[in-house]
Symmetry: C2
Subunit: 124 residues, 2 copies
């Protein structure tokens, strides 16, 4: 993405939001911040996304240098996706986005899921 970004932004906020790249990419980054994951795990965490869109968003995150894909040594699985060092610098941003949602859901009378708990329950 670095080479797709404009060369200048009106303000720092606009630049950060351009790097995050929208809602679904930010959600994917938040999940991968927890731990590296296989495609099938991300698939379960994002049931509202089609395979096509999830694949596209992952490809965009890889081309922007925020997500790396590592094939499994044995070649038995599709490998794992993880944050790059560049993406890990976004840790504080992602943390505060998550924490605010967690702490303020009740104020807005909405329910937020705990998808990792669900993922762990589904583990063999």
């Amino acid at each position: 993405m670095a080479n797709k970004l404009p060369k200048s932004f009106q303000c720092a906020t606009e630049f950060t939001l351009a790097v995050l790249g929208g809602k679904w990419k930010t959600v994917i980054l938040c999940y991968l911040k927890q731990r590296p994951m296989r495609y099938s795990e991300l698939r379960k965490l994002l049931p509202n996304l089609s395979d096509k869109v999830l694949t596209e968003r992952l490809r965009e995150l890889m081309s922007s240098g925020l997500v790396a894909h590592r094939k499994s040594a044995e070649g038995t699985s599709s490998g794992t996706y993880s944050l790059t060092a560049r993406a890990r610098s976004l840790g504080d941003v992602l943390h505060h986005i998550y924490i605010w949602g967690h702490d303020n859901a009740a104020v807005y009378h909405v329910e937020v899921g705990e998808p990792f708990k669900q993922l762990d329950r589904d583990r063999p």
Copy 2:
């Protein structure tokens, strides 16, 4: 917005991003976090937005309870826009979005403006 939001979200991150409501609304919130502003000031800070879009985004932020509009006592100006208490709870999120952009622009070889300096220079 509270009544326009879905009642449940897959994860806390998705909820926060829905409240922020996209790039331009987040940028407007970041500016108003600094201080209350007149429309004409926001207008100068957001030269890439048309009047129509800026007005719409402000209206959406007001209807979602994040921005308040106060008319001037004398009726001589169009009044000021400011963050509500609800929006001020987003302070940490907005701060970290801004700070990351400020600290990482050089890494990405992009320039970020300092729009407040420009605004202050333009003051009568």
